[in-house]
């Protein structure tokens, strides 16, 4: 195990422990997960989920940085996260990894592909070379993420994200307990 992978192992193990989760029981799979996380951390600067397609744009990838936004509801419902890196005690002991469907919304997954560019380029590709300027403009439009301030009505935790978390990381309240903060700044004088 390289020092970088060792660091990831320690981080993942500590995270599992703090949430009362276990890691996938098969050692060879676990090693592959650590390698995938290390590759993505080197590639993007943050550990994108090895089972999902990252973009390198932090705003677009934020929900799939491991541990991803979907892990807690997935472990609660299926006993394992989408990758099956994190599992609960029952799955760990049975060693039977369940199928876990993708919870990430399709529109978020689609952002890794700039379909607006593709549609523009399809007719162009057969005639003339593509225009980089068009690409940049379309890409910027497609990668715009509207972030908001959310607060947990139970404990007051505040987060500035596109969507509120499924589970509050502080008091474990459900997503329904989050409300948007409507902040207005007025300049007088």
């Amino acid at each position: 195990m390289t020092p970088a992978i060792e660091l990831i192992r320690k981080r993942v193990e500590a995270d599992a422990k703090s949430y009362g989760y276990y890691l996938t029981p098969q050692a060879d799979l676990l090693q592959m997960f650590f390698e995938g996380l290390e590759t993505n951390e080197t590639r993007y600067g943050y550990p994108v989920c090895p089972c999902r397609l990252g973009t390198g744009n932090l705003d677009l990838d934020r929900d799939i940085i491991c541990p991803c936004d979907y892990r807690d509801p997935d472990v609660a419902q299926y006993g394992a996260c989408y990758c099956r890196l994190y599992v609960n005690k029952a799955i760990y002991e049975s060693q039977n990894l369940p199928e876990v469907p993708e919870r990430r919304p399709a529109e978020k997954m689609a952002r890794a592909y700039d379909t607006s560019i593709h549609k523009q380029q399809m007719p162009i590709a057969t005639n003339t070379p593509s225009k980089p300027q068009t690409q940049t403009a379309a890409q910027e439009q497609n990668t715009e993420v509207k972030k908001k301030l959310w607060y947990c009505k139970q404990c007051g935790y505040v987060i500035y994200r596109e969507d509120p978390p499924y589970i509050c990381p502080i008091c474990k309240a459900k997503r329904e307990m989050f409300a948007e903060i409507d902040a207005k700044i007025e300049f007088n004088g």
């Binding site: 997960f33 999902r52 397609l53 199928e99 997954m109 890794a112 592909y113 560019i117 380029q121 593509s130």
Partner: protein
């Protein structure tokens, strides 16, 4: 965009894999096909440039697939999402 071919003894079906180089289940799918000597072609989508990624989006969604990996397309019509051994065995007859 060129898919890499892995040759085996079983060539009855055209098997195309869309995978991620970092994905554990993609690796296990490739391993399963190789172990069963199935000829297949694959491409690691995370290593492609943006234009090729867009093409993959087009191919997968046109076949009714979701954008999850691995996506396995058999004979240009049957789409299997994820490493589903039972489905692969049934469709490929292995």
């Amino acid at each position: 965009m060129q898919l890499s071919k892995v040759s085996g003894n079983k060539n009855a079906h055209k098997v195309s894999l869309y995978t991620l180089s970092t994905c554990v289940w993609c690796k296990l799918t490739k391993q399963f096909l190789s172990d069963n000597s199935v000829t297949y072609e694959f491409i690691d989508v995370d290593l492609l440039d943006q234009n090729d990624k867009n093409q993959v989006h087009e191919i997968i969604t046109n076949k009714g697939g979701t954008l999850s990996y691995p996506t396995i397309i058999v004979d240009d019509k049957t789409v299997i999402t994820g490493f589903r051994k039972d489905q692969l065995k049934e469709v490929l007859g292995v």
